[in-house]
């Protein structure tokens, strides 16, 4: 009798394994629903790292900027990669407008043409203090960009404090603002 119990326990291992996997899947599914689990997420290792060397020409009328200038800043700066051809960027503009009263935002137009950028900003408003151009996408690669829009919070001294590889939402800006205090 004891032997059969022992064997039953032994033969429950397949069930237990399947149950653990099932529990994991359930957690993933609920994470997918709530938005805190995204299998497409890419976590690039930039937090608390210095900004990469770069130099950008300006999007007229704004002058360009570079690594040294960003390092010299005495207050936090939000770097926002965007493009006129990117639809999620369009949805992000409203959030950026509101955010621009709390923090200086410097934009980088990724793989874009100056005319298209100015047209985009005329239509949707301009939340940026400065705009640089990255027509070939080389600077984006230096920053570890995987798509547009993406935002980086840069602290004085040129350290990356926060990175968000998706369009900014109201919820994500709250995380950002809490980091500023």
């Amino acid at each position: 009798m004891q032997d059969i119990t022992r064997r039953r326990l032994l033969w429950s291992i397949p069930f237990a394994t399947a149950a653990v996997a099932g529990g994991g899947f359930l957690a993933m599914l609920s994470g997918l629903r709530k938005g805190n689990f995204d299998p497409r997420e890419i976590n690039i290792p930039v937090i608390n790292k210095p900004i990469p060397p770069f130099s950008l020409i300006g999007q007229p009328p704004s002058a360009g900027f570079n690594q040294q200038e960003l390092q010299r800043q005495t207050k936090p700066i939000l770097i926002n990669f965007f493009a006129s051809w990117c639809i999620p960027c369009l949805t992000e503009m409203g959030v950026l407008q509101q955010l621009s009263s709390h923090i200086d935002i410097w934009g980088i137009a990724y793989k874009d043409k100056p005319d298209a950028v100015s047209g985009f900003l005329e239509r949707n408003g301009n939340p940026y203090q400065k705009i640089g151009q990255d027509p070939e996408g080389n600077i984006g690669i230096e920053w570890g960009l995987s798509g547009v829009p993406e935002s980086f919070l840069i602290m004085p001294g040129g350290i990356i404090k926060w990175h968000y590889p998706k369009p900014l939402s109201v919820a994500s800006t709250q995380i950002l603002l809490s980091l500023l205090q």
């Binding site: 690039i44 996408g137 230096e142």
Partner: protein
């Protein structure tokens, strides 16, 4: 080694040895925005840009491991289609040995035990026969 994603000859390096190195490296790097495709296989824009970077760095004289380091530095281990051996990936890398070991142990133990059971079963039968003989 095949580069399926390349869609124009001017993407490739003139030096065939360097180009081969680039393709080998590229096949180990994940196109970040696509699923499980290497940058050499993918026709996505980002894959194209990364192919360019790999080739630029090779021409600049980087070794293979330096190029890989540069990529991991910028994009993290996510970019490696073959994850490095770390504490987190230990189970993944040990899986072949682990599964093989467990399989062999189970097989060995049960097969040895079976002979034992068989022996017991036979002796019971013998006992039955014995008792029948006794009745007669």
């Amino acid at each position: 080694m095949l580069a399926f994603g390349i869609d124009s000859p001017d993407e490739m390096l003139k030096n065939t040895q360097q180009e081969q190195r680039a393709q080998h490296l590229g096949s180990q790097l994940r196109c970040l925005v696509c699923q499980n495709e290497s940058i050499e296989d993918s026709s996505a824009d980002l894959a194209k840009d990364l192919r360019k970077v790999v080739r630029q760095r090779i021409v600049a004289g980087d070794t293979d491991s330096q190029v890989m380091e540069w990529m991991v530095d910028h994009y993290g281990n996510f970019i490696r289609l073959k994850p490095p051996f770390t504490f987190t990936t230990a189970l993944l890398w040990f899986m072949p040995v682990l599964a093989l070991g467990i399989g062999c142990i189970i097989a060995f133990v049960t097969l040895r035990k079976r002979k034992h059971i068989e022996a017991e079963a036979l002796s019971k039968e013998e006992q039955k026969r014995l008792s029948e003989l006794m009745k007669e």
